[in-house]
Amino acid sequence: MENGKPPLEPALRALTAQAEGQLGEHPSPETLVAYHEDRLVGEERERLRDHLALCADCAQLLLDLAVFPEVEVLAGLRSPTEGDVDEAWQAMQARLGREKRAVATPAPAGVVRPPRSRPRPAYVPWALAASWLLVAGLGLWVFELRREYARLAEPAVNVAVAELSVEGEQVRGGERGSVRVSSIAGRTLFDADAAGLPRHSGYEVEILSGPGTGHALWTGRELKRSRDDHFTLDLPPGFLSAGPYRLRLFGVDDGHREKLADYPFEIEAP
């Protein structure tokens, strides 16, 4: 200590250490390279120099860059031997192999990568709901149509009959009573007069094939006797192919059927 005065250097070190503590972000290695290659100018270069003066780490990086790859071996540090480099190369190869395999291996089964979704426009939910309603409505309509078609494709008993004089109308006599057969738009209407027939709690009608003892093709179980003593049956077009048939009426009491009338008829080929 000169004349009791403190040395300047420790004070300077303390002052610069204080300034170092207030340094901002370190310049990137790319900026250091740009400075080293004299590509920084003006304010940017001056700022970097100010930083280098205080930041030992950045200064050392720049000094290393100036001599790289001729980095000297510092005293006390062991430089890798040829054997070390061989070993490191083996490890490097193993790692590269692992990376290649990882790239080549597809995602395990069952792992589904989430799709890259775009933001959905606001109208999409409404459009989806409207489409769903439309499809549901159409489905219901088609279902009703098919049910109606199936209903019309089946014979119907107890149909309302207006007093019409229809061309081609025939009156056929049976064992008891008579039946009037009309053909309207391909449909065949049977209107049986049951005035002379005995009364039962229920009635059934059967269509049998052939003029003799044919087998039952269809049975109508809900047949009702109208107020004016008639039974009606409506056959859809195409229900019976051309040929001879019989219409048989039954009276039903307690599950027991009694034949009431038998009307032979024939469907002519169109």
């Binding site: 403190p6 002052l15 503590g21 120099r49 100010d50 030992a56 071996v73 190369w89 490097m92 790692r95």
Partner: protein, 189 residues
Amino acid sequence: MAAWQAGGDREEIFQRIFRAYYRPVHRFFAHRGFSPDQCQDLAQEAFLKVHRGLPAFRCEARFETWLFQITANLYRNTLRSQSTLKREAQEVSLDELVEEPGGPAAPAGDAGALDRVLSEEGTEVLRHAMANLPSQMRRCVELRVHQDLRYKEIAELMQVSIDTVKAHLYQARQQLKGKLSGYFADPEF
């Protein structure tokens, strides 16, 4: 690199690069205080980045400069990760630290360190004297005193000649001596 650009055997070229530059990269990390195992891992990481980046590398830049950038960036990122880990560890044990007698140590480079060395007046005079030095002269002093660098290294960093550095330091000594003679002994840097 010419062989790489010419479409030579990529694996063989990479092996040649690895063998040629493994030691400098390893030393780069060793000089910065990393353990031998860490140096090995970091060097391998650096060469992995080289391997990935080589197909896009253009010979407009020096290969060594590109390799240095990769290495330096890896070093910076590693420091950042370590610093984050340290911070998190400190946050976890904060309560324990508070209970220790005397509390945690003050960080280096704080204002208190300067005050402990100097009187308030001396601090202010020194700060003023340094601030009044021309920028390049001040930087030379800081590099010489604070970082303890040689003239050659200061010249390299400031992109001036060694003679310029010597001249700056001489001038700085004269100016500081004149302004600080009442507070400090003559500068010896």
